[in-house]
């Protein structure tokens, strides 16, 4: 159990700035998920914390101690790698015991800890096997076990589920969450999968091009995305982002096609004609006679719901999620409810809240 504080952490690779001024604070036992598209710097951030890369600037403080200059071997951090990185020449038992032997633990203690982790992860029958004799899910468990037995101050997960098939990923996700809760170890978890991010994290850090864009609870990120990038990144199918302009007085948005969308929660600052982006999640769009006409190009049935991909009168793409199967034709009419509208600034993409 430990806290993690990251101060003004930056990393350059040559002239390329990969991370800029990351500030982060993790409470003891908290699980923070870092999410972003590939190349956003999230893995680099994790590797900096691990000590596998050296930061250009900034400090990493683990449990009150500045670990920035320390070698990874003495940081007391365990990491689960994307491709598991098990020692191929060692048995499952030895894979887990390796770090304990280095720490000079007594044999019975090593035996006890490995046994305990194996029981926890259902690995007992596999302890004598080599990694190559294991399935992907089993290797994943061994990698987890290797981290758990160390009883480290901090867990790092580097996209640990991305090499598993979809079904296994869902069950391992739940398992990781359960384990982390039970062990109460402070954790940083990196992923590009927003479903993983939403379900696993106490809090999310959304990153974009080396810069943290939003740090909040999953539901807050979903309900009040900090900018248009986060809005489009979190949620499936992605939020519809429509170009629009502000009307006089900031009371409504005028879509490129001419439709007027009044704001339900108050006026937005800015002069008339200011470029804005309005966002509406596909599940919030209502099918309703008398609304805007939508030409449906593609119907994607997902079982309990169906996604319609269509075009508005002015060719703007719009997706709609409806419950059940789609029985309608190739044209329909939709309404965008004001209460579900997200408004972002056109230029910066930042969230535009009502003026007070």
């Amino acid at each position: 159990m430990a806290t993690l504080v990251i101060e003004k952490l930056s990393k350059n690779f040559g002239p390329i700035e990969v991370l800029r001024d990351i500030d982060l604070e993790l409470a003891s036992g908290e699980m923070l998920v870092i999410v972003g598209a590939s190349g956003c710097g999230k893995s680099t951030l994790l590797r900096l914390v691990a000590g596998l890369e050296e930061p250009t600037r900034g400090r990493i403080i683990l449990d009150g101690r500045d670990v920035t200059p320390l070698d990874p071997s003495v940081r007391d951090i365990a990491m689960v790698f994307q491709n598991y990185a098990l020692y191929p020449h060692m048995s499952v038992f030895d894979n887990m015991a390796y770090g304990l032997r280095i720490r000079g633990l007594a044999k019975p203690e090593i035996q006890r800890r490995v046994q305990e982790a194996a029981t926890l992860l259902g690995l007992e029958p596999l302890l004598a096997r080599k990694p190559r004799q294991l399935s992907g899910g089993q290797r994943q468990r061994v990698a987890m076990g290797r981290a758990i037995v160390r009883e480290p101050k901090l867990f790092l997960f580097d996209e640990p589920l991305s090499n598993l098939d979809a079904k296994l990923r869902v069950s391992m996700r739940a398992e990781i969450r359960r384990l982390q809760r039970r062990l109460g170890v402070t954790s940083l978890y990196v992923t590009h999968d927003q479903v993983e991010a939403m379900t696993l994290g106490d809090r999310l850090l959304v990153m974009h091009r080396g810069v943290p864009v939003q740090l909040a609870t999953p539901m807050e990120v979903f309900d009040r995305p900090a900018d248009a990038y986060v809005a489009g990144f979190i949620g499936t199918p992605a939020m519809n982002l429509l170009d629009a302009t502000l009307t006089a007085g900031g009371t409504a948005a005028r879509l490129a096609g001419g439709a007027l969308l009044p704001f339900a929660d108050g006026r937005r600052p800015g002069e008339e004609g200011k470029n804005i982006i309005v966002g509406i999640r596909p599940e919030h769009v209502r099918i309703e006679a008398g609304g805007m006409p939508l030409a449906i190009d593609l119907v994607e049935p997902l079982g309990s719901e169906t996604v319609l991909l269509g075009r508005l009168a002015d060719e703007t793409m719009l997706s709609v999620k409806v419950h059940g199967a789609w029985a309608g034709g190739e044209r329909t009419e939709i309404v965008i409810p004001s209460a579900s509208l997200h408004v972002f600034e056109g230029k910066s993409g930042l969230r535009l809240d009502p003026a007070r």
Partner: protein
Amino acid sequence: MERRTIFAGWKLPMLLVAPQLVLTFVFFYWPALVAAYESLTRTDAFGIHVTFVGLANFRSLFADPLYRAAILRTVGFCAAVTALALGLGMVLAVAADRELRGRDLYRVLMIWPYAVAPAVSAVLWILLLNPQIGFVGRFLVTHGIRWDYALNGNQAMLMVVLASAWKQVSYNFIFVLAGLQSIPKAVIEAARMDGARGWYRFRTVVLPLLSPTLFFLIVVDLVYAAFDTFGTIWAMTEGGPAQATQTLVVKVYNDGVVNLDLGSSSAQSVVLMVGVVALTALQFRFLGRRSGA
């Protein structure tokens, strides 16, 4: 992905493999068969009468203390060359397997000695070590060391070991480097996170993962030292002084070509051939096991 080309009939395929088969036959099977036959014969001093003597050549060979000494010498020579070449190759490969300024240049320079012809490398070493004209040799002599490989057998042995190993270091370097680079980086990083440092990490993670490469190299180095060092040794010492650097291959040449004892020389060749076959079989078995794993 496997691509197969199927030829109709047998004439074209035969034609295509014929050059290789002819070369193999003319330069390997034929001489090998002649050697095997000659090892069972004795030729008189004038080369007129050839008598079939059965295994007499082999019997006298293994009864000969000089031959037994040559076997021991060759074993020692091979062990020394292999240890030196593999050890140095490994040290250099480990040094090259990290972020270095001018890494590519360094690697190219490391690989060059492999391209130097054995006789040329021998001459280079002579130019360094000759007690009269050699840079290092003269340095040793002027500093009170009685360095003369033409008189001192141990010094001669040291020199041929050095020269032979030097040529093979490149080969070992390339393979160990490739072996090191095929170890997933994440595994090393995992070991770092687990707390393993320096030599301990190398011994418990890197070395075991490198062992297939190292085993392969040991066999290759032994074969090289036993059979491919003739050019180097002959150009430097001709097996001397007083047979101090006469390995089995050098002895085959000396006895057969220089002293014209064709029967004994052929018998020695056959013994060597058996040695090569044994080493190759060992290697094949091992490589087969690895690819099957």
